[in-house]
């Protein structure tokens, strides 16, 4: 399977990278992380306006008509930048509507989402229940209950809500009976919270797309984590070249040097792995469940460990709030836990492999 990026794709990614470098330097990132909503929202809106809002929406609805491979590759760069905002939630909402929605639903939502005028979000987990098989909410015909760990609570105007049997429903944020409870979040670039439904009007989408949406979510979490860990390694490598102790850069100490080589080695193949996983989703969806479970298990776990080790490697400075390390560390911690931990997905991958 070829999952190398074409020149066009690379050019596009470069554009996104440039945008992120300009708008999301450390000082602004720290402000967004510390709760400056204006900066967070400016960075995120700008991303959508680059055309990313409709990345996976069909062209007839104003989107770019691209696949998960491209979405994941962009997600990596967003993770690399540590950029604030519910990017992953929005992409998944677009993907769900594009693949599971009726023509009317697509026409109602996708053009605005593609134009960056409407932000979407997915509301999937119920407590720790991440699997569509364990979702219990139902729309019969109105929706009651709650969804947890929802990313984009503040920003989204439309929510794609997971229902029993892997069905999905559309709920507007302004619908009567909808309540939002922001939580004290570990990853403050992407705060989460609970959305409550009290007899809320909703529209169920015709396709039961929950299982596919899960695969996409796992793949994007992997890509984001890979980006975060790659950034951490890049930063600690640079730091080690300039931080002097005992009259030489610490990178000149073999123990440090080899640890950095080990980190780089652990990171290196994760890019190909998530891209391959995304390409499988796009091209041979039959194999997607297993591939996505395995990638999520591996990459979010390894990335979380790498971010941890890199943070430690800074010495005292990495342990301060003012340093950036924990922004990515927390991001990796979030991805580790979101939509099921490495351990459960590893067990699931083993089942799916028929072991």
């Amino acid at each position: 399977m070829d999952f190398a990026l074409s020149d066009d794709q690379l050019t596009f990614i470069d554009q996104v990278d440039r945008y992120l470098r300009d708008t999301c330097p450390p000082d602004r990132l720290h402000k967004a992380f510390d709760g400056n909503e204006a900066i967070a929202s400016e960075i995120f809106q700008g991303l959508l306006e680059l055309g990313l809002g409709g990345l996976v929406a069909p062209e007839e609805h104003g989107g770019l008509g691209l696949g998960l491979l491209e979405a994941a590759s962009i997600t990596e760069r967003i993770g690399f930048a540590g950029a604030p905002g519910p990017w992953v939630s929005h992409v998944l909402a677009v993907l769900a509507i594009a693949n599971a929605g009726s023509d009317a639903q697509k026409a109602r939502w996708l053009p605005g989402m593609a134009a960056g005028e409407i932000v979407g979000a997915v509301a999937l987990m119920e407590g720790s229940a991440w699997s569509p098989e364990d979702w219990k909410l139902s729309a019969s015909p109105r929706l009651s209950g709650a969804k947890d760990y929802v990313m984009g609570l503040r920003e989204a105007q439309v929510f794609v809500v997971g229902l029993a049997g892997g069905q999905l429903a559309l709920v507007e944020s302004t619908a009567p009976g909808v309540s939002m409870t922001p939580w004290f979040s570990t990853d403050m670039t992407r705060p989460v919270g609970q959305i409550g439904f009290d007899n809320v009007a909703c529209e169920v989408m015709p396709q039961a797309y929950g299982a596919e949406l899960l695969d996409a979510a796992l793949t994007l979490a992997s890509a984001d984590s890979h980006g975060a860990s790659a950034r951490m390694v890049e930063d600690i490598v640079e730091y080690s070249k300039t931080r002097v102790q005992f009259d030489r850069p610490i990178a000149a100490f073999q123990a440090v040097k080899h640890k950095l080589a080990d980190l780089a080695t652990a990171v290196e193949p994760n890019g190909p792995l998530y891209r391959q996983t995304a390409a499988i989703f796009d091209q041979t969806p039959d194999d997607s469940h297993r591939a996505a479970a395995l990638a999520k298990a591996h990459i979010t776990e390894v990335a979380s460990n790498i971010c941890r080790i890199a943070t430690e490697s800074y010495g005292g400075i990495g342990y301060t709030w003012e340093h950036s390390a924990h922004i990515w560390l927390r991001r990796a911690m979030f991805n580790y836990a979101w939509m099921g931990t490495p351990a459960v997905h590893r067990a699931r991958a083993a089942d799916l492999a028929g072991w």
């Binding site: 947890d148 005292g316 301060t320 390390a325 560390l329 351990a343």
Partner: protein, 383 residues
């Protein structure tokens, strides 16, 4: 063939228990200082400090010391005052200070009236502590101090500070340092809380801008501050009882595993979690056995490994790290958010996870400990 040392220890333990029963009224007793006076008189606290300075002046006996710690802790009776003063400054003054310094500072430090901040690390001097740049220049009868310190613990509660400064800028790096005492209640000293990765602030940065201290508030000779400060570091690396932290952390994570649901049942029933708990518990047990062994050796007046401090520290760091990682697995989704800040549920373990990163940093990094072990215990070449 077993050594008959156990009975003597047991007799002593009974004495301590009896003392506590008679004198410690339990948590209701708010007058720790009155109790502490009795404990000094009984010879249970400040054992290594002469009576003239407020100590109880007992012969060194790590086994007795350990029994005292254990029995006092069981009933939560106060032992020595916490902080840097009794643990770090007082031994240094005893070893290297002038008599008037001892008289002036030690007694009130032992009662807790004088609290001390430690001014060692700087932004450019972490593991390479001898690289400090904060300068002190003699102007008349005063040292004038300029520079910045980081990771000063307890600075917001302290009125004094012991500080490493560069007094001989032209000398080789280890020979240009002096050890000064400093009153922090002056305009030249600015304390800024250092917010940690967890959001808490247990440490501070200190900015010294023409801060002043009397000429004779120097401990040891001018330019000998590096050696003076080593006295203190040795005290930081006590091996006996070092495993207590591991024990405590393990009990916490065990409780987390018992009280947190993972995949629909208590996490402790998950075979993977159970295996990892067992794996860590074995290391905690080994750590404890090694501590006990060190205590037994000390009790018998025998020498332990020259790098015992490094061993136990490195071992303990690794345990703490493993516990953090296990907590991450158990917390699962709770690691993403807590419904409210400081919630008592599994989510508070996020802080523990982040804190366990500090285990690699505090009191000398793991790499420094590896060097120490390699050089002192294994006889390998120095870097």
């Amino acid at each position: 063939m077993l050594a008959p040392v156990a009975s003597e220890q047991e007799t002593f333990r009974k004495e301590v228990k009896a003392f506590l029963k008679e004198n410690w009224l339990g948590a209701a007793d708010r007058d720790a200082s009155a109790f502490r006076k009795k404990a000094v008189a009984a010879g249970y606290v400040y054992r290594s400090i002469p009576k003239i300075y407020g100590g109880s002046e007992q012969a060194a006996d790590p086994v007795k010391a350990h029994i005292i710690r254990e029995e006092f802790d069981k009933v939560r009776a106060p032992r020595e005052v916490g902080g840097n003063g009794p643990g770090l400054l007082a031994p240094t003054l005893l070893a290297c200070g002038e008599d008037w310094q001892k008289e002036m500072f030690i007694p009130k430090t032992l009662t807790g009236e004088y609290r001390w901040a430690q001014g060692y690390s700087e932004p450019g001097a972490g593991s390479d502590l001898a690289n400090i740049r904060t300068s002190a220049v003699l102007e008349g009868d005063e040292w004038v101090i300029n520079g910045q310190k980081v990771w000063t613990s307890d600075a917001h509660n302290s009125i004094f500070m012991f500080i490493l400064v560069r007094t001989e800028p032209d000398a080789p790096k280890h020979q240009g340092i002096s050890y000064l005492l400093l009153d922090m209640r002056q305009p030249g000293v600015t304390v800024r809380p250092l917010k940690q990765i967890t959001g808490e602030a247990h440490f501070n940065e200190i900015f010294l801008d023409n801060a002043r201290t009397p000429k004779n508030w120097i401990v040891g000779e001018r330019g000998k501050g590096w050696i003076v400060s080593r006295t203190t570091l040795v005290h930081e690396r006590n091996t006996v009882g070092a495993s207590m932290g591991s024990d405590h952390l393990f009990n916490q994570v065990l409780k987390l595993a018992r009280t947190t649901e993972l995949n629909g049942r208590p996490a402790i029933e998950d075979p993977l979690i159970r295996d990892e708990l067992g794996r860590i518990y074995a290391r905690v047990s080994a750590h404890r056995a090694a501590g006990q062994h060190a205590q037994n050796l000390a009790g018998a007046g025998r020498e332990g490994s020259p790098a015992a401090g490094g061993f136990t520290k490195l071992y303990g760091s690794a345990i703490s790290e493993s516990i953090g990682l296990l907590a991450q697995r158990i917390m699962a989704d709770h690691a993403m958010a807590q419904p409210v800040e400081n919630h008592a549920g599994p989510g508070r373990w996020v802080r523990q996870y982040l804190n366990s990163i500090a285990a690699q940093l505090g009191g000398g990094t793991s790499n420094m400990q590896r060097n120490q072990i390699a050089e002192r215990a294994l006889g390998l070449p120095r870097d």
